[in-house]
């Protein structure tokens, strides 16, 4: 049975009711699990769609205010449902298919892109007990699954049979795999202290005053900064948005996509941004730990603060050149993160901050 079901007010009751219903009609155990997980995944899908809609609007407002504009103002208070309207518009757009495309690859690229971003939420701890399934390889699973985005971007670039798209896809693959290494190694420094890959264990080992890993000097802050830099690159955002550099590649891998297929890439990009922020909040900022407020408020607050940081960085700094980008990853981030990992190992062996 699924023990930690969503525990937010009415939702908890709803899932308990569904569970009792399934038991009462006498379905065999595996099918009960299947239906419960399907209901949970539909809930998470709805939540992520809402979050993505909010993030697009938020990003446009932040960008506007940084550039001394207003941004969307027409539909609703400060244009709050502008992105809903945009989504409805995209739904009605004609699906233009390039004649020379690779049909299978072109069709499945947005699907894989979205599934890779979505399935990371199997073991995302939204709050105390608010996790779909506490996998014992939690963080390794998330890192592995989100990397599938690279394959979908390559597929989009190749399938479009467009030079801009192919260049965007190849650059994105080169960039994401280069920043994958420092990202994983800076998380390893924390896993060394926790002794478990489960997301719930990682959060629980940070309970108490000033016990978050970012406060555990000297390795915590270094790992946090290297992780954040690598995460910005993983999410393909400025200053590391070489794959979709508008001025040179028009839009990179998604030039030839329109309508709902384009919307799926866009949605997956914002979900990925939320994912890397949620991992940062869970691993370095204590996850759902915090006084007075409910646990999920703390989680969302920390994650949205991280998202806000990523947005500020995006609209403040100019884009790096490709060679600077790759050399920064291999000549600076990789040595620093490995040195930090060794430092964390030595400190742990000496019994520092047990």
């Amino acid at each position: 049975m699924i023990s930690p079901v969503f525990a937010v007010g009415e939702l908890d009751g709803l899932f308990r009711w569904l569970n009792e219903l399934l038991v009462s009609i006498g379905l065999p155990q595996p099918w009960q699990d299947v239906i419960m997980y399907a209901a949970l995944s539909a809930t998470v899908f709805g939540l992520l769609a809402l979050i993505a809609l909010f993030l697009v609007w938020w990003e446009r407002k932040i960008a506007a205010h940084i550039q001394q504009r207003f941004g969307p103002m027409r539909v609703g208070w400060h244009g709050w449902y502008q992105t809903v309207m945009d989504a409805l518009k995209l739904l009605q757009k004609e699906d233009i298919r390039v004649a020379t495309r690779d049909k299978v690859v072109f069709f499945w690229a947005p699907v894989i892109c979205f599934v890779a971003a979505f399935s990371a939420y199997v073991c995302m701890p939204f709050g105390r007990g608010l996790i779909v399934a506490d996998l014992n390889i939690g963080i390794l699973y998330i890192m592995a699954v989100t990397t599938f985005t690279v394959i979908s971007l390559l597929m989009a670039g190749w399938g479009s049979n467009n030079k801009y798209a192919l260049l965007g896809g190849m650059r994105s693959a080169a960039q994401v795999i280069s920043y994958e290494v420092p990202m994983v190694v800076s998380l390893l420094a924390v896993i060394l202290y926790v002794g478990s890959l489960s997301m719930v264990d990682i959060v629980e080992s940070q309970s108490g005053w000033f016990n978050w890993f970012i406060f555990r000097v000297p390795f915590g802050p270094i790992a946090f900064v290297t992780y954040t830099v690598a995460a910005i690159a993983e999410a393909n955002r400025t200053p590391f948005d070489i794959p979709e550099a508008e001025q040179e590649l028009v839009a990179g891998y998604n030039v030839e996509y329109s309508g709902m297929k384009f919307a799926m890439f866009f949605l997956a990009e914002f979900i990925n941004m939320f994912t890397v922020s949620a991992i940062a909040a869970t691993v370095f900022l204590g996850g759902w730990n915090g006084p007075w407020l409910p646990s999920w408020v703390w989680f969302m607050g920390k994650t949205l603060s991280m998202v806000f940081l990523l947005m500020l960085v995006r609209w403040t700094y100019p884009r790096l050149r490709v060679d600077q980008l790759m050399e920064f990853a291999w000549k600076f981030l990789v040595p620093v993160t490995f040195a930090n990992l060794i430092l964390a190992g030595i400190l742990k062996y000496l019994g520092y901050w047990e």
């Binding site: 699924i2 299947v34 997980y37 949970l40 995944s41 998470v44 899908f45 739904l91 009605q92 757009k93 004609e94 699906d95 233009i96 298919r97 390039v98 004649a99 947005p110 979205f114 599934v115 979505f118 199997v122 779909v132 399934a133 996998l135 699973y141 190749w158 479009s160 049979n161 467009n162 030079k163 801009y164 798209a165 192919l166 190849m170 080169a174 795999i177 994958e180 994983v184 190694v185 390893l188 896993i191 060394l192 002794g195 890959l197 028009v250 030839e256 309508g259 709902m260 297929k261 919307a263 799926m264 790759m326 050399e327 291999w330 990789v334 490995f338 990992l341 060794i342 742990k348 062996y349």
Partner: protein
């Protein structure tokens, strides 16, 4: 193993939701293709040749270095999880292992492979 069922179901539900929205869009959207519309976008020029061509091999070299370091990360994960029980011996072994691979990175660096020329 019941938790891993969730992974499978997330993959199917995710793909199903995407395919459902594609289906919904198919009902709502207009469909009016003609040859000029379906030409590859290349800033209003007709594209010359296919884009499925040979690519610069620097991408391949970075992919090779990535594979080495990702396999190293796979070895580091179980080490990091079990570090509490293993003690000094494991620490020294892993430091030697990391240094061997960092030496490889230094070699690639000195060879000029890491330069995006």
């Amino acid at each position: 193993m019941s938790e891993y069922l969730a992974v499978l179901i997330f993959i199917f539900v995710g793909a199903g939701m995407v395919l459902f929205t594609f289906f919904l869009a198919r009902i709502l959207r207009p469909h009016n293709p003609y040859p000029e519309k379906n030409v590859n976008y290349e800033c209003a020029e007709l594209p010359i040749g296919s884009s499925w061509i040979k690519f610069h091999n620097r991408y391949y070299i970075f992919a090779l270095i990535f594979v080495i370091f990702d396999v190293e990360a796979v070895f580091l994960f179980p080490w990091a999880v079990a570090f509490g029980q293993l003690g000094l011996y494991a620490l020294v072994e892993m430091v030697i292992f990391i240094f061997i691979l960092l030496f490889g990175l230094l070699y690639a660096w000195k060879k000029g492979v890491l330069k995006w020329a």
